[in-house]
């Protein structure tokens, strides 16, 4: 069963750095309070959040309001120093594995060293990799690293697109030919599965390749959750459908999130998601994938009738 229209998002990503960054601790903490008051369960602070001067106040306000907070981290000394200064309870930490690639390979010693350093501070960091055309090939190696290094959580989040927040260059966004190559790579190099690893794969087609036969585990999916259980906030406080669908709904700097989530633009996005993209008509798997990432499909694949760029064609 798909989810009905929700009052507010369940998961939010929030960029703390970027164009038009909101100024002043008072504005930022008010935004954090609005997120918490809206009943958002999970907030991921992104774009070098640890080196933002207001990060401690934002984390504290979100946590006090009942949000589970995660911060992304690329492992720089400045970020680690800021992390050490944060008061307890510390947020969860997601290390950007993309910052540990050298010459197209995972720098395992450096990544292991950092994980051990964080463990020494009582932090069990997760790993994440923003999938790009240029890094899909390291996923098997990263999963093998997770197994040998005892990493408990690995995430492949959704793409970030649009010109309003930091994006993957269009020529580095993975499309169906890249996925076909990854499928072949995975068939040859799928690592021994780390038994204790929690794996979170946003993209439906990567999920299909990496977890064959596990459809039931995604049975609640019910389609793209942009503008429903998912939302995104940029550094200026503008609320979007999701990090992969830069449709602005309103400003969290001035307006409560539950009000923004009732805006006509948000409801229009959900109405678009409810429609079957013309590029998916007749596909036998539509009832499983519901068009995949509808933000990517709508913005980047109009020639393909709004089909997810990771999907080659309707399956007959």
């Amino acid at each position: 069963m798909g989810l009905d229209l929700l009052d507010t998002p369940v998961r939010l990503t929030w960029d703390l750095h970027g164009p038009g960054a909101a100024a002043g601790d008072a504005v930022l903490t008010a935004m954090a309070d609005r997120i918490a008051a809206a009943g958002v369960f999970y907030v991921t602070l992104d774009q070098r959040p640890l080196v933002h001067p207001a990060v401690a106040a934002i984390v504290a306000r979100l946590a006090t309001g009942g949000c589970a907070v995660t911060v992304t981290c690329s492992g720089s000394e400045a970020e680690l120093a800021a992390l050490a200064r944060l008061p307890a309870p510390l947020p969860a930490v997601q290390l950007d594995a993309g910052a540990f690639l050298a010459d197209g390979l995972v720098d395992r010693p450096r990544l292991k060293q950092l994980l051990e350093r964080l463990r020494g501070c009582g932090i069990e960091a997760a790993l994440f990799l923003l999938p790009r055309k240029s890094n899909l090939h390291v996923i098997p190696s990263l999963l093998d690293f997770c197994r040998t290094a005892g990493v408990q959580r690995f995430k492949l989040p959704n793409a970030r697109i649009g010109d309003t927040f930091e994006s993957i260059p269009a020529d580095d966004l993975p499309c169906w030919p890249d996925l076909a190559a990854f499928r072949e790579l995975w068939a040859r190099q799928a690592p021994e599965w780390p038994a204790a690893l929690q794996l979170e794969i946003h993209d439906r087609f990567l999920w299909e390749i990496m977890t064959p036969g596990a459809e039931q585990a995604r049975s609640e999916y019910g389609g793209c959750q942009a503008a429903n259980s998912l939302g995104h906030v940029d550094a200026a406080g503008t609320v979007y459908a999701c990090a992969a669908w830069p449709e602005p709904f309103g400003s969290l700097a001035t307006t409560d999130l539950d009000v923004i989530w009732q805006s006509p633009r948000r409801l229009a996005v959900r109405a678009r998601v409810a429609e079957t993209p013309s590029g998916c008509l007749g596909c036998r798997d539509y009832a499983v994938c519901f068009g995949g990432c509808r933000g990517l499909g709508e913005l980047l694949n109009s020639a393909g009738g709004g089909r997810d760029p990771m999907c080659r064609a309707p399956r007959r």
Binding site: M1, L3, D4, L6, D7, V10, F41, Q198, E200, Q262
Partner: protein
């Protein structure tokens, strides 16, 4: 039957706007059986409970037994008491089997 209480590992919230819409639809005589009004996340998976299920869930705080829950719901719904009790018992049994409810 012991007093059911929610598994504290499950995070949940009431969808208040949605619930108000569902209540209006119910008053208008519409079928709202599949409309979610409570959202919960169990082991990373999202689920929704419908109006009646959500109202039972809200009351599963370990202080009421199923008969008391049914009695409270009888005030809200014009349903025969025996039918309501059966619905509560079935809901509690199902969610206890899933591990979402625990015995107080």
């Amino acid at each position: 039957m012991p007093n059911p209480r929610r598994n504290p590992e499950i995070i949940w919230r009431i969808e208040r706007r949605r619930r108000d819409e569902v209540l209006r639809a119910l008053e208008a005589g519409e079928d709202v059986g599949d409309s979610g009004t409570v959202l919960l996340i169990e082991k990373g998976t999202m689920h929704q409970l419908n109006l009646v299920g959500g109202m039972i869930w809200e009351r599963c705080d370990g202080t009421r037994d199923p008969a008391q829950i049914a009695a409270e719901l009888a005030v809200e719904f014009a349903v025969e008491r025996g039918e309501l009790q059966a619905d509560v018992d079935e809901f509690v049994k199902d969610l206890t089997a899933r591990g979402w409810l625990l015995d107080a």
